[in-house]
């Protein structure tokens, strides 16, 4: 074989080997690290897996926010106006988190159906709503104020 061609063949082989190793790494990393999104109705219906990282999004139910006395633990409910999921979280909430506003919580569902959140995302400006929340509300047939459409 022509030496240049031979070298090219080796280069292609090297790239192929390296890429397959990378793909293996990608698949391995993806296995434990993708979080599926569930609307509250699905969680209550038992469609969400227990003990796996998931995300739940909806509106923060009015008057559902409770704080612990001596720590930063909080408890609130996320709703799509059909069902509501209880969320517990320890830490500081984002600035735009408020009752009656959209939020997405990621964490793990425990045996009692309470989401133990490790991260809370709220909208980041006045006009923006996380697409997942919009989607969840569309499926439940309510608008953002909780009126049936």
């Amino acid at each position: 074989m022509h030496p240049v061609r031979k070298q090219r063949l080796y280069i292609v082989l090297f790239i192929a080997l390296f890429s397959s190793a990378a793909i293996g790494l990608v698949v391995y990393a993806l296995r434990g690290n993708i979080n599926l999104f569930y609307p509250p109705a699905d969680v209550v219906a038992g469609l969400a897996p227990v003990g796996q990282p998931i995300r739940v999004g909806g509106m923060v139910l009015e008057d559902s926010l409770q704080r612990a006395e001596n720590s930063l633990a909080i408890r609130f409910k996320l709703t799509d106006y059909q069902e509501a999921v209880e969320v517990v979280y320890v830490g500081i909430l984002p600035d735009l988190f408020a009752e009656g506003q959209g939020a997405v919580a990621s964490g793990v569902l425990n045996d009692e159906g309470v989401l133990e959140a490790t991260e809370i995302l709220a909208k980041h400006d006045e006009n923006y709503m996380p697409p997942e929340v919009i989607h969840a509300l569309e499926n439940s047939g309510y608008d953002q104020e909780g009126n049936a459409k």
Binding site: V4, L30, I34, F37, S71, L72, I92, L93, P131, H135
Partner: protein
């Protein structure tokens, strides 16, 4: 009146870009030098009209012209003037005008600083850039006109700029980032011109190399500023979130890094030609993809503005035309430009090849992680998100593979090196690196294997560079002579690689040694963290130009010695009513102290507080600055200017001969 002038100028700019995209390209095709010679003046004209348009938009913002819808929804009379100006690009429509302005700026720069480039090549390059301008200007005019008026019934005051964007970092972050993004269009245009002409030689690489370096430097600075802004402005103390839009800027950077290195091999040895062209296409396509991801609102991200689907569709079609068109052209023409040069396995070439493979694979894995949620959603398999653990798990090993190769690159020779020489050259760096890796982490108990690995890799890199530098000086007759003989290219490489080492150290140290506490604190409380005592004194009410704030007063001491007083704020902006956290940071080369306020807890004056101790976090931003400085230094090499004159003479001769 002024907004109408701006609108008119933008339309004129679109017309000019249409002419630029067609006439010189036709001239290049038919060999009409009159048509080709129009290109530079058209490029300058394009810049003038886009600049007028941008100036008018900025004037509308500065004069509080709330009859312009964009101003009404993104500015406010209370806004300080500098933020009124930066509000121009703090929204979708205005940022597109900025994009068009910077593209016109690059186009004009190519036109003005490439007088020695053969006219044929120059006209093709400028035509391609004109075509990109057509895309963006029509996108701006058709789907997102920034000059839309609300008449009658203009509001008395505007809705205010998102408070997160009212910040010095955001004044310069978008322009720098766009300089980088859009700068890759120059490399792209050169690649397309080369494919069209079917000629791709060392001079081609020499022409496009400085432009690519500069664009890459700006992109590095832009990404670094974004990270720094997120760190102090979002109030979480994080500096990289693998947010889709961060990835959108990071992917072109990765592809651009591969491009910068592969251009070196193409210029010096005439190798990897068609590969380099492909990388140039990738880098710019990823920039466009980034724009699509940011502007279409398909992803949940802090950067997504509220958008409508028409815009997403437009840019998706544009992306398809650019990527599809250039890849088709590549498929047809690449065989004409491929190289027939061989190199030994033990050589600098094969190390550069490793660099390219690693960076491209890194870019693809990031691309995959970013697009995976979209693919799954499009297939109707649910809504997923791919979090930071995925990216860390994939990205960190790739970079760890890269550094050993990187330490060998600068000391190895082109074409053919020998294993014995490598062994001799690398013995000292290896021994010293291992020693450093064993000793340095001991300074900070407990011993941390990841930090040890980072120290091993970066000291290996560092000592290799220092040793090479030292040898170059020593081989000269005197130190002064040796310094004089160092080319800017070499210095640039040295600085950029040092920057990379600093980045590695900073990222690993801050990820491994950071201490973070979220606490409930009463005024008067003292908390100890990482050897520092944080005393929460009180909360005061303060007023800014367009906000009111609760300001916490902290005194920080270490072993009884005063270190800093820190005053984080919780701001409420008057116009929009939105609340924002302003973190207090005591910055240092070896550690940052970071305090941010959460919310009031209970009724007895207690607050949720976030206290962070972040060692060496500055190193990664310093590293990014060094990388950019290195890129600019390398681009300043005289060789790019001097040799251009001689090469252009010969290409001109070749042109006339043909």
């Amino acid at each position: 009146m002024i907004p109408e002038i701006g609108h008119f100028a933008l339309i004129l700019a679109l017309c000019l870009s249409l002419i630029l995209a067609s006439v010189p390209a036709w001239g290049a095709w038919r060999g009409n030098s009159g048509a080709m010679a129009l290109a530079p003046s058209l490029a300058v004209g394009l810049l003038v009209f886009v600049a007028i348009s941008f100036g008018c938009l900025a004037t509308a913002f500065l004069q509080d012209d709330f009859s312009v819808q964009l101003v009404a929804s993104h500015s406010n009379t209370l806004l300080p003037p500098i933020y009124k100006f930066s509000a121009v690009w703090g929204n979708h429509e205005g940022s597109l005008v900025l994009w068009a302005l910077i593209l016109a700026f690059w186009t004009a720069a190519v036109a003005l600083f490439s007088s020695q480039l053969p006219l044929l090549v120059l006209s093709r390059v400028l035509s391609v850039m004109g075509a990109i301008s057509v895309g963006f200007l029509s996108f701006s005019l058709i789907t997102s006109n920034p000059f839309t008026r609300i008449l009658p019934g203009a509001p008395a005051d505007g809705a205010d700029l998102n408070p997160l964007l009212q910040d010095p970092g955001l004044i310069i972050h978008p322009p720098l980032l766009y300089m980088g993004y859009v700068g890759f269009s120059v490399a792209f245009a050169f690649a397309i011109a080369a494919l069209l002409g079917g000629r791709l030689d060392a001079s081609w690489a020499r022409w496009s190399r400085p432009w690519t370096n500069i664009a890459w430097g700006f992109l590095s600075l832009g990404i670094m500023l974004g990270s720094w802004w997120a760190y102090y402005e979002l109030g979480w103390g994080g500096w990289w979130f693998w947010d889709p839009v961060e990835n959108a800027s990071f992917m072109p950077w990765l592809a651009g890094t591969a491009l910068v290195h592969s251009l070196a091999a193409t210029e010096k040895r005439g190798l990897f030609k068609s590969w380099t062209v492909l990388l140039a296409i990738f880098a710019f396509s990823l920039s466009l993809l980034g724009t699509f991801l940011v502007r279409s609102g398909v992803l949940t991200s802090v950067h997504a503005f509220a958008t409508d689907p028409e815009r997403g569709m437009f840019i998706l079609v544009f992306l398809a035309i650019v990527v599809g068109g250039s890849l088709t052209l590549y498929a047809v023409r690449a065989p004409a430009v491929s190289s027939r040069v061989s190199f030994a396995w033990v050589s600098r070439e094969s190390l550069l090849l490793c660099n390219n493979v690693v960076f491209l694979v890194a870019a693809l894995t990031v691309l995959f992680g970013t697009l995976f949620p979209l693919i799954v959603d499009a297939l109707g398999m649910g809504k997923v998100s791919v979090g930071p653990p995925y990216f860390n798990a994939v990205f960190v090993p790739l970079m760890a593979l890269l550094v050993p190769v990187m330490g060998m690159g600068p000391i190895s020779r082109w074409k053919r090196d020998s294993v014995t020489r490598w062994r001799g050259e690398l013995l000292i760096p290896t021994v010293v690196a291992v020693l450093c890796a064993v000793t340095f982490p001991l300074l900070h108990a407990p011993y941390n294997i990841w930090v040890a690995l980072a120290v091993l890799l970066s000291s290996w890199l560092l000592i290799g560079l220092v040793k090479d530098f030292w040898q170059r000086l020593r081989s000269a007759s005197s130190t002064a002579n040796g310094l004089r003989r160092l080319t800017p290219s070499y210095c640039g490489m040295l600085i950029a690689h040092l920057g990379f080492a600093a980045c590695v150290i900073g990222i690993v140290a801050t990820s491994q040694y950071s201490v973070e506490h979220d606490l409930k604190m009463h005024p008067g409380d003292t908390r100890e963290m990482a050897g520092y005592e944080f005393r929460f004194i009180e909360v005061e009410h303060v007023e800014g130009p367009n906000f009111v704030a609760d300001e916490a007063r902290f005194d920080v001491t270490r072993d009884g010695v005063w270190v800093a007083s820190m005053n984080p704020q919780k701001r409420r902006y008057l116009a929009s009513g939105s609340v924002m956290t302003e973190a207090a940071i005591d910055a240092g080369l070896f550690r940052d102290l970071y305090v941010a306020m959460g919310e009031p807890v209970g009724n007895d004056g207690a607050w949720a507080m976030r206290l962070h101790y972040k060692p060496m976090v500055r190193w990664m931003w310093l590293g990014a600055i060094l990388m950019a400085v290195g890129a600019f230094t390398a681009a300043a090499d005289k060789r790019y200017r001097r040799q251009r004159a001689t090469v252009s003479a010969s290409s001109e001769a070749a042109l006339h001969g043909a």
